[in-house]
Amino acid sequence: MSQLCILSVVLVAVGLYGVLLKRNLLKVVIGIELMVLGVAGLVVVVGSGGGAVAEVSQTVGLIGVIGGASVVCLMIVTAVRLYEKYGTLDIREMRRLKG
């Protein structure tokens, strides 16, 4: 169980690295996908011991994966649209919005 926990945390960390530091839109999307999988794994692993019923944790993890998959689809569509507008996927080229 502890190895699986570590694996999940590593997945989330790698995903977060992609989201925060990568400049390519698709790499950001990949980062999000990795985070989704890591979080879902964590929920399932943590919920399989102790007083919890494993089925509920698995359901929560599954819902998380479904939600993540839908959002990733939408992100890819948005990224394609942005590519059509800008001709590049580089975030540094897309700074029309100020913070």
Partner: protein, 483 residues
């Protein structure tokens, strides 16, 4: 009576389906379908208002009352949110009829609108945190698409930014829910209240995750980066819904539900909430001061006003909670009004830049007067609703011994007046630019919702003792269930 609860989710979903199927027929069919859908949802909400305010708790289960089923319940707090959602959506759908004429494929817009409504209803109806999360996901997906609806560069960018940050928030929620379930063995709000969840060892870890998740959804400073872009990019009726209803439902509502279960007032967490609230009030207001775009200014104002609501929630006394809920309702009303006004100005003049507008009061009298009424409410002039709620929040802070935070609230109120005076002077007063000589008032379907909302701003200020006693008190009791 309980059968109304699933209907509140199923009706908008069916309306969305019907709209999707009829997307090739005329736009009028889509207008009618969408408005009928929102009217039915309002009717269903009113049907359960009486019984719920009378103290009856409605429940509905599918698949057995287990954690895996669809469990819906309505108490005072859910009812208050349902009223805000359904009436807010009705105003926005009426406003959309004329406003969305300038966009293509109106039926698809209404489909997303209805999905958002269904998701928001599911959030507030869910009797456990998993159902609530599913609702958040549905509403958020529809919302991401609506932000990008104009398909311009900046809209797509804003939507992408929102998608990334929103998904990080959702993931915080999922992991928080998973860890919490592993510790408590339940996800139902009622059972959590019964077992004293706040005392369980290690609950701080899921609590931090849930706080970050809801914080990202509700855009408290420093989680606010996405909000000004997203709220100024969406079509105006959607901006109004996003600022007025959406972030409260998917962000604040969850915090309120878990307030006495996890973030107990007086604990370290409530101090964190207080600090987040004061940061939101001040940073939001200061950034609003320097905005040149009408809708961006309103978006920063939302951050600031949400700070007030969070301040009331974090103090956690019955008076503070009632004041926070009242300010939430007031904010929903005047912020929808402001965004409708900004949309009306943008549609008639073609610009949102405060510097290139001016003197519109003579050309667009209804938009001007209703926006001015909203301005009186947000800046806290008696007897408008915003005055009472802001004052009650500050009074509650003093009563609870949090004088420092009360001062922050008062300073924020002064800055609010400053940036809205700039907004009013720049758009509705002063000299009319030559280019705007031929501007006309917006059509009646856009003006009517604004008049109704302006009337509500005044009305709520006049009947506030009754409103707090009969509508807000049941909601406060529901929040304090776990105390």
């Amino acid at each position: 009576m309980s059968a109304v609860l699933p209907a509140l989710i199923v009706v908008p979903l069916l309306a969305a389906l019907a709209l999707a199927l009829s997307s090739r027929s005329s736009e009028r069919v889509a207008d009618i379908l969408c408005n009928v859908g929102t009217v039915v949802v309002v009717g269903l909400t009113f049907a359960i208002t009486g019984p719920v305010l009378g103290g009856i708790k409605l429940e509905w289960f599918a698949g057995g009352a287990s954690a895996l089923g669809i469990n819906l319940a309505v108490d005072g707090l859910s009812l208050l949110m349902l009223l805000v959602i359904s009436l807010g959506c009705l105003a926005a759908s009426v406003y959309s009829v004329s406003y969305m004429d300038s966009y293509t494929s109106k039926a698809k817009y209404y489909v997303l609108f209805m999905l958002m409504l269904a998701g928001m209803n599911m959030v507030v109806l869910g009797a456990d945190i998993v159902n609530m999360y599913v609702g958040i996901e549905i509403a958020a997906l529809a919302c991401y698409s609506l932000v990008a609806y104009g398909l311009d560069k900046e809209y797509l960018e804003a939507s992408f930014k929102y998608q990334v940050l929103g998904t990080v928030g959702t993931l915080c929620l999922v992991s928080g829910i998973g860890l919490m379930y592993a510790m408590l063995g339940t996800v139902s709000f009622e059972e959590m209240a019964g077992m004293g969840a706040a005392g369980v060892a290690g609950i701080a870890i899921p609590a931090v995750l849930l706080l970050s998740g809801f914080g990202l959804k509700a855009a408290f400073v420093p989680y606010h980066a996405w909000l000004p872009d997203a709220h100024s990019s969406a079509p105006s009726p959607v901006s109004a819904l996003l600022s007025g209803v959406f972030i409260k439902v998917i962000g604040l509502y969850g915090l309120m539900r878990l307030l006495f279960l996890v973030f107990v007032p007086g604990s370290t967490f409530s101090t964190v909430l207080l600090v987040l609230a004061s940061l939101s009030i001040l940073v939001g207001a200061l950034l609003a001061l320097v905005q040149t775009d009408m809708k961006r200014l309103l978006a920063y104002c939302t951050i600031s006003q949400m700070g007030y609501v969070l301040l009331g929630i974090a103090i956690g006394t019955p008076l503070a909670l009632a004041a926070a809920l009242f300010h939430m309702v007031n904010h929903a009303i005047f912020k929808e009004l402001f965004f409708f006004g900004a949309g009306s100005v943008e549609r008639q003049t073609g610009t949102r830049d405060i510097a290139s507008l001016g003197g519109l009061n003579s050309k667009m009298p209804v938009t001007g007067v209703t926006t001015a009424i909203g301005f009186f409410s947000v800046s806290g002039c008696p007897p408008f609703g915003g005055f009472w709620s802001k004052m009650l929040i500050i009074v509650a802070a003093v009563q609870a011994g949090q004088t420092g935070f009360a001062v922050v609230g008062a300073i924020g109120a002064v800055i609010t007046i400053a940036y809205f005076l700039r907004y009013e002077r720049g758009v509705f007063f002063g000299a009319l630019p030559e280019a705007l000589r031929n501007v006309k008032e917006s059509p009646v379907t856009m003006v009517a919702p604004m008049i109704v909302l302006a009337a509500a701003c005044i009305g709520l200020g006049l009947v506030f003792p009754w409103f707090i006693e009969s509508v807000l008190q049941p909601a406060v009791h529901a929040i304090m269930l776990g105390a």
